[in-house]
């Protein structure tokens, strides 16, 4: 859909058009600046020596650019009692997010496949119930989940946290894949059946290779949610097993000595980078995938 279609002929010329352009761009620039301001402040602060941070103007460019606070945040900052930086927690988060995203996306795709191509009695009811899971607030499940993880021997471990995120993410991933596969032609599945492919072959050879856009959407969605999660991380892990969001909180909340805002900002930037990266790489597909199926091509 090109934006050209939206312009009515009389709007193309005339000064009314110019003024509306000025207003539109003015507003856009204002809001962009509004949203980007915190990021700018964070970046500037993280590259300043501490003395400059305390000197005042947060919007001032650093007089002496330094990456010392990034190095310190990564390897030396004190999280709780140990002073090894956030690198350990960063890897915790990576381990957690990769397994949780992988498992929940795969199982969601499988659910979507079954719910649309292997219909059974009560499948719509089941889907409705799964959908309902999307609306359960995190706080409700905290205590039952803690009890369950304790009994299952998964308390305070990355695997336990992965389990929680998979269970919670399944509702969303199932929703995404079901809605994507419902538009996938049944005749292809029938053709594959006649060709001799069975349940798993059809899934791996026919449906999954055609699922690029929705896999991207699901991965971005799950990655950002799981990476940014604080509540589950704080509730179900302790000490060394905590994800980076919890570690970041612990750095910032240390009450001893001078507050090292530049280190805090650098740590926050490090914690935010992976989601940014995922979005930059897959963002194009994200928008495309969200739109897919909404408008019949």
């Amino acid at each position: 859909m090109s934006s050209k279609n939206w312009d009515s002929p009389q709007m193309v010329q005339g000064s009314a058009n110019r003024w509306s352009r000025v207003i539109i761009y003015g507003l856009l620039i204002f809001f962009a600046a509004f949203y980007l301001m915190p990021l700018v402040v964070m970046l500037l602060t993280s590259f300043k020596p501490l003395s400059e941070v305390y000197a005042g103007n947060i919007l001032k460019l650093p007089a002496h650019w330094t990456t010392a606070s990034w190095v310190k945040a990564w390897g030396e900052a004190c999280v709780g009692l140990s002073c090894d930086g956030i690198k350990g927690y960063f890897w915790n988060s990576i381990k957690m997010v990769v397994s949780a995203v992988g498992v929940s996306t795969f199982v969601g795709a499988m659910n979507g496949y079954i719910l649309t191509k292997w219909r059974f009695k009560g499948d719509n009811l089941l889907f409705g119930l799964i959908l309902f899971g999307c609306f359960i607030p995190f706080q409700i499940v905290l205590i039952p989940m803690a009890a369950f993880l304790g009994k299952a021997g998964l308390a305070s471990s990355t695997s336990g946290l992965v389990f929680v995120h998979v269970v919670y993410g399944l509702c969303f991933t199932t929703l995404y894949f079901r809605n994507y596969y419902i538009a996938f032609p049944d005749e292809l599945v029938k053709a594959a059946m006649i060709d001799g492919a069975r349940f798993f072959r059809i899934f791996f050879r026919i449906l999954l290779p055609c699922s690029g856009p929705i896999i991207t959407v699901t991965v971005i969605w799950q990655f950002t949610n799981i990476w940014n999660d604080f509540l589950f991380g704080a509730s179900f892990t302790t000490g060394d097993t905590a994800p980076i969001t919890v570690a970041l909180n612990n750095i910032v909340n240390t009450s001893t000595g001078e507050r090292e805002y530049n280190v805090h900002m650098a740590a926050a930037m490090i914690a935010a980078l992976p989601t940014l990266l995922v979005y930059v790489v897959g963002g194009r597909y994200f928008v495309r995938g969200l739109m897919a199926g909404s408008v019949k091509g």
Binding site: E187, L188, K190, A191, A192, I194, D195, G196, A197
Partner: protein
């Protein structure tokens, strides 16, 4: 290649009967066309032959084997779908080879089979393309190739031409017919287009509301339709169905056509079998194909009659001119000589060929034979 027998096959979803006891048998090498309006159950029947749908009761036999409980891939069939159902993530060659790959055919053999089929359908240059890079006709060709490469007992076609434009459809129709002649394959073909049915089939099964109306060769179905539904469904323009009455006329019978607004018309009939004479004095429905009503283009012989009619409107088609006539008060379609001008409202004598006359019971709408 193999025969196919469908015996008392029923299909119901809950209390809704989709198919109400279908019996069809075809021999090795026959081309069966299932034809009927949408919702008649023809596609469901095809799905059941393929094994994509379950049979509620009855048997389906391919060759001598009962296949009711066999997985689609074990029935030794190949199917061409309406949407072609080409795997979008695979090239044309991979599409054709997928079935063989599933059956674990060695790679060298697969390559050879792909080349053979590509040559047969003249699509060697398309093998590396994706389905999205093909035109409608090319996709159709690939779908056929995927079916051909299997050398199945039976080919199943589910409205394969309905997504093509008019000209291509006629070309592909000829291609399919040629292919059938060359391969001597057993084919079951579903369509709602009666012209496809007439041109392709060796046997036509006309269906309506889950019931088989008639099973016969194209000429049987065309010339001796079992009932008024078949009569009006097969043929374009469709058969004229004129309400009338059989009356005594001299030694024999005459067909009396009388509309309450105008004077009646009596057409003397040749000697009729007993089944027809039993209807003397009763209401019947007379069926006459448009080409059985004409003027100079119809040869006069002892079974033709001259009747008076009013010409309402003409539709020149090129080879001949279709005309709506008022015959005994009823509007009928006639096929007249081309290259003549017919003034509207013209009243004249037209020729009716009684060799092609069929009669139906006015109550049951079944043919009186």
């Amino acid at each position: 290649m193999s025969s196919l027998h469908i015996q008392q096959v029923r299909k119901s979803y809950g209390s809704t009967d989709i198919l109400k006891g279908i019996d069809i048998g075809i021999d090795d090498g026959e081309f069966l066309v299932l034809v009927g309006p949408s919702g008649c159950g023809k596609s469901t029947l095809l799905s059941m032959i393929a094994g994509l749908d379950t049979v509620t009761s009855g048997d389906i036999l391919i060759g001598n084997q009962r296949v009711n409980d066999l997985h689609p891939s074990k029935r030794d069939i190949a199917m061409v779908f309406q949407s072609y159902a080409l795997y979008p993530n695979m090239s044309v060659a991979e599409n054709i080879a997928f079935g063989m790959e599933m059956r674990k055919v060695p790679k060298a053999e697969r390559e050879k089979a792909i080349q053979d089929v590509a040559k047969l359908l003249q699509m060697q240059h398309l093998l590396d393309r994706r389905p999205s890079q093909l035109s409608g006709g090319q996709r159709q060709r690939v779908a056929m190739g995927r079916a051909l490469v299997r050398h199945p007992q039976i080919f199943l076609f589910d409205e394969p031409l309905s997504n093509l434009d008019a000209k291509l459809r006629v070309d592909m129709r000829t291609e399919i017919k040629k292919l059938h002649q060359r391969l001597k394959a057993t084919i079951v073909y579903v369509t709602h287009d009666q012209i496809e049915a007439m041109t392709l089939a060796t046997k036509i099964a006309v269906m309506r509301n889950g019931e088989l109306q008639q099973l016969g060769s194209p000429s049987e179905v065309y010339n001796k339709p079992a009932n008024t539904f078949v009569a009006s469904f097969i043929g374009s323009p469709s058969m004229n169905l004129i309400p009338g009455r059989l009356v005594p006329h001299g030694d024999g019978l005459a067909l009396e056509i009388e509309h309450n607004t105008t004077e009646g018309l009596q057409i003397p009939l040749p000697p009729q079998p007993d089944s027809v004479t039993a209807y003397v004095g009763k209401e019947i429905i007379a069926g006459l194909r448009p080409e059985a009503i004409g003027n100079g283009n119809l040869q006069k012989h002892e079974l033709t009659r001259q009747v008076q009619a009013d010409l309402v409107v003409t539709e020149p088609t090129g080879p001949d001119t279709l005309a709506i006539l008022k015959l005994g008060g009823f509007e009928v379609t006639a096929r007249l000589e081309a290259d003549a001008t017919y003034p509207a409202g013209h009243r004249g004598l037209f020729t009716v060929d009684l060799t092609k006359l069929v009669m139906f019971d006015s109550q049951t709408e079944q043919r009186i034979a």
